[in-house]
């Protein structure tokens, strides 16, 4: 039987980042992935002959530190200096353009107000910076290092000054709607700006909780929340991480779903000692790290008999229902949007915050929204390899599409939704339908099935105040260690959460190496 220092389950970007750091530190690492390709939700795959796409279609917060530490540029990762505009689409062509440098398409008053608004959000995002690339302190029994983290966070906040700190504490849990209403007049602008506070969550503009904190979280990247596509697209990040991992000796096995984490249970307690694959093959390691979502990890791979009652019930009660569906269109030709010249940006179809709110209202009662709200990227512009010559790929996030649809999902209900989506898209991009060769709709249920993510959730588990920071995914597992000795977790369900950030993988590796 083969033996490794560390076995990592799940070759999503977090598993890859973690594998890299451990391999770099000299560990003998095995990375096991269920599907044929690495990358998880960021993997690029063919959805129609000749047409390819990844579920996560753009990057906004992948840390410079990881790029440098792992020398990813050497492995072909080229971050783009150009950030994508967020463009709020308007039926009449009066679009709103949000760029790194400010706004256009709105009144001068809004432009000036935006500068103030974004400046303060940037200060807040900066103050929160130490939160993300750090293990969160446990709620009790802290080590000196953990106490220092508390102090550091406190200090950063203090450095904001009294006024900013008060304002930060006020806005972090503010409904997005209130913050937008306080600052702006234009409905389209408000809806566009609140998109990144909401996408991937079970929150709508009027929901109090942490949508602004999520927005600030997404502003942690180089482009202050603006998305970008590296040369070669999302795929290039996964490729670079893969090659870097191989270069430090990480062994990679795809197409090998793990069935169980093997547990050594004796009078010394329970500890992970390896994995058992679907076919029954057993592989041993000194430690096991799971980059899967917490429910998969604990309920399915570890099992109730190895975990205490309250812990497992807390895992079970995690909110994991996804509300984002993915639409991939194989297009015969480049689409056009009324009044838009360049297409390598990010388009948002959400005319007002009420449209977003009502879409959520439908979804929370298990219905597909009457008027879905949509985020569009055309990744084939940046990476022509995604489509045959002349063709293009349109990639869209659709909110809010319920995991638990009333009556369940069927081919008919999916076809019905696709039709509705094409109708909506056609209004903004006349003639689009004629260019569609094939449409693939991935509901949260499809994402769960094919990507093995419980609920098909963007962040593996809802990123909300009660499931954040030292509560993520739940206490006793919030420092990447778990109640099972030698078992660690490092997926998006850990602090700081999902999105292509790699921070969970980075933090977990750090815990193991120190």
């Amino acid at each position: 039987m083969q033996h490794f220092d560390t076995i990592i389950i799940g070759g999503g970007h977090n598993g890859l980042v973690c594998a890299n750091y451990l391999g770099k530190a000299g560990q003998k690492v095995l990375l096991i992935e269920a599907s044929k390709k690495l990358g998880g939700l960021a993997a690029t795959r063919e959805f129609y002959p000749g047409f390819r796409a990844s579920v996560a279609h753009a990057i906004n917060q992948f840390p410079e530190k990881i790029v440098l530490d792992l020398n990813l540029t050497k492995f072909g990762y080229k971050q783009s200096s150009r950030s994508m505009k967020n463009i709020g689409l308007d039926l009449e062509g009066n679009h709103v353009f949000v760029t790194q440098d400010g706004l256009s398409g709105v009144s001068d008053k809004e432009v000036r107000q935006y500068d103030l608004y974004i400046a303060s959000l940037k200060r807040f995002a900066k103050a929160l910076q130490p939160f993300w690339m750090k293990k969160m302190p446990a709620i009790s029994g802290n080590t000196i290092a953990e106490i220092l983290t508390f102090i550091q966070i406190g200090l950063k906040l203090k450095l904001l000054g009294k006024k900013d700190m008060r304002e930060l504490l006020r806005v972090v849990s503010l409904p997005a709607r209130d913050l937008m209403d306080e600052n702006f007049d234009s409905d389209l602008l408000k809806a566009t700006l609140s998109w990144d506070a909401l996408v991937g969550s079970t929150q709508a503009p009027r929901s109090p909780n942490n949508s602004i904190l999520t927005l600030l979280y997404r502003m942690a990247g180089n482009h202050h929340g603006h998305y970008m596509l590296p040369e070669g697209g999302v795929q290039s990040l996964i490729d670079a991480l893969t090659d870097a991992a191989k270069s430090v000796g990480v062994e990679i096995r795809c197409d090998s779903p793990v069935k169980k984490i093997s547990i050594k249970a004796d009078k010394n307690g329970v500890k992970a000692e390896g994995v058992i694959l679907d076919g029954g093959e057993e592989i041993r390691g000194d430690r096991v790290i799971s980059a899967l979502d917490p429910k998969q990890t604990f309920i399915n791979l570890v099992g109730a008999e190895h975990l205490e009652i309250e812990f497992l019930n807390r895992i079970n009660r995690l909110r994991t229902d996804g509300y984002v569906a993915k639409l991939h269109l194989a297009l015969s030709d480049i689409p056009s949007f009324t009044g838009i010249e360049t297409l390598d940006d990010r388009f948002i179809i959400a005319p007002t915050m009420d449209t977003i709110e009502f879409a959520w209202d439908d979804a929370k009662y298990g219905q597909c929204p009457e008027n879905p709200v949509i985020e569009i990227v055309i990744p084939s512009l940046n990476n022509p390899a995604l489509s045959p010559e002349g063709g293009h790929v349109l990639s869209a996030n659709i909110m809010y599409i319920p995991y638990r649809k009333k009556g369940g999902w069927s081919e008919e209900s999916k076809a019905h939704l696709v039709k509705k989506l094409l109708n909506t898209l056609n209004q903004y991009s006349p003639g689009l339908s004629e260019k569609v060769i094939h449409a693939e709709l991935l509901t949260p249920v499809d994402l769960e099935k094919d990507w093995r993510v419980t609920g098909g959730h963007w962040h593996h588990t809802e990123l909300a105040l009660d499931q954040m920071l030292m509560m993520r995914p739940t206490y006793e597992a919030a420092q990447y260690q778990t109640p099972v000795d030698d078992l660690y977790i490092c997926g998006a369900g850990c602090h700081p959460g999902g999105g292509l950030m790699g921070a969970a993988g980075f933090n977990a590796a750090k815990v193991i190496l120190t």
Binding site: A265, K267, N268, E305, L307, L312, N313
Partner: protein, 398 residues
């Protein structure tokens, strides 16, 4: 459901034995247990206690919670819940168990009956279905059924119990060993009997479907008449169990799930139930916390005391010196024990003071005058009352 009875839902449930018990409850002294009307005593608690110790008595345990737990993973599920290793429990045997929160605080104690390879019955003092469901999450195909309201149960305790059952014609009852379960033909159905109880004496618990409960009662009382049978209530039980060294909820321990204040509940080590905690088991709820509790030593230890004099030390503080300057604990239950002829008590005493002097400050009243005295206590390791007849198989015949 519509009914003419006012406040029908608020009224106490009546046990299947109620009609007979009501007829014998000369003092109309009722209390409540888990929503059931339930006798505090029938005639006189001391008299009933003496029946239990010298002849025999019946105690209605219908209100006790009874759960059937069945399925492939039933054993694994229970084994992870309780601190003891029940994989060692043989079929048709009963074992005493306790279970804890993951902080190692005791939720409840009870007994597990192994009824078949994949079938168990758990009995306990308080409703536990919610906890059982939590404990069951993650285990496939385990069915949990609350049979409290359908399975009648009567505790039958005292030295002459065996003779009564024998005379009833229960074939092979003489072979039933302590903690064993047997099945007997009775009135055309099956009567399950376990040689268990809460009195520390010879005794049995009888389990039968509600429909046959009264017939069982009538037979027992017909034959038992010559053997001094008498129903006994909560008060006599409390005396007998203290002599036997058994703990009682809300006296010795607080159920952890109902405790508001931090650590106002107890760990098994504090309750001197360390023997129930099997660390050879790789995992059970509370294991990590209990390892720590064992290593650090419990803050308090439940201790059996023999106290000078004859004044029960009810509610007494315990001191490490006669001057009562060093408070080291408190009494949880106390009585003058007629069977052992001693002034006995259980007390929670700070573990670090167990080896020094122990004094109880006893308050008592005589004709409206208050007195107090300080009495020397000595620790008893064994149960106050543990007659050999309780363990004999076959038991003595009267």
């Amino acid at each position: 459901m519509t009914t003419d009875i006012k406040f029908a839902d608020e009224r106490l449930k009546l046990s299947p034995f109620h009609d007979r018990q009501a007829a014998l409850n000369l003092r109309d002294s009722w209390s409540v247990w888990n929503g059931y009307k339930f006798a505090e005593y029938y005639y006189d608690s001391e008299y009933e206690y003496f029946c239990v110790r010298n002849t025999c008595g019946t105690y209605d345990i219908c209100p006790m919670q009874k759960y059937l737990i069945e399925g492939d993973a039933a054993e694994a599920m229970l084994n992870r819940m309780v601190t003891r290793d029940i994989t060692k429990l043989k079929e048709n045997r009963v074992t005493y168990v306790c279970w804890c929160t993951n902080e190692g605080r005791m939720i409840d104690d009870g007994t597990i009956f192994k009824l078949g390879p994949k079938k168990f019955m758990l009995t306990c003092g308080s409703p536990s279905l919610a906890w059982l469901r939590k404990a069951n999450f993650g285990f496939d195909a385990v069915e949990i059924k609350d049979v409290t309201d359908t399975l009648a149960a009567l505790s039958f305790q005292g030295p002459t119990t065996f003779s009564v059952l024998k005379e009833m014609g229960l074939e092979g009852i003489e072979d039933l060993k302590p903690f064993q379960i047997g099945y007997y033909d009775f009135a055309g159905t099956e009567l399950m009997i376990s040689r268990t109880g809460f009195t520390g004496d010879l005794g049995y618990e009888l389990w039968i479907e509600n429909d046959n409960a009264l017939e069982l009662w009538d037979t027992l009382y017909e034959i038992g008449e010559n053997y001094g049978i008498q129903p006994y209530g909560e008060a006599a039980t409390n005396m007998a169990r203290l002599e036997a060294g058994f703990i009682m909820p809300y006296m010795e321990f607080n159920e952890a799930l109902k405790t508001v204040h931090y650590q106002h509940d107890q760990t098994p080590f504090e309750l001197n139930l360390g023997w129930l905690v099997d660390f050879n088991k790789p995992l059970f709820n509370g294991r990590k916390a209990l390892l720590l509790d064992k290593k650090n030593g419990p803050k308090y230890t439940l201790t059996k005391l023999d106290i000078e004099g004859n004044k029960p030390a009810e509610g007494s503080y315990i001191y490490g010196d006669k001057k009562c300057s060093l408070e080291i604990g408190y009494v949880t239950s106390a009585m003058w024990s007629p069977a052992v002829k001693a002034n006995i008590a259980m007390a929670m005493i700070k573990t670090e003071h167990l080896h020094g002097e122990i004094w109880a400050e006893i308050y008592y009243e005589k004709e409206l005058r208050q007195y107090d005295k300080v009495a020397r206590c000595s620790i008893k390791e064994k149960p106050f009352w543990a007659p050999t007849r309780a363990r004999m198989t076959p038991p003595e015949h009267y």
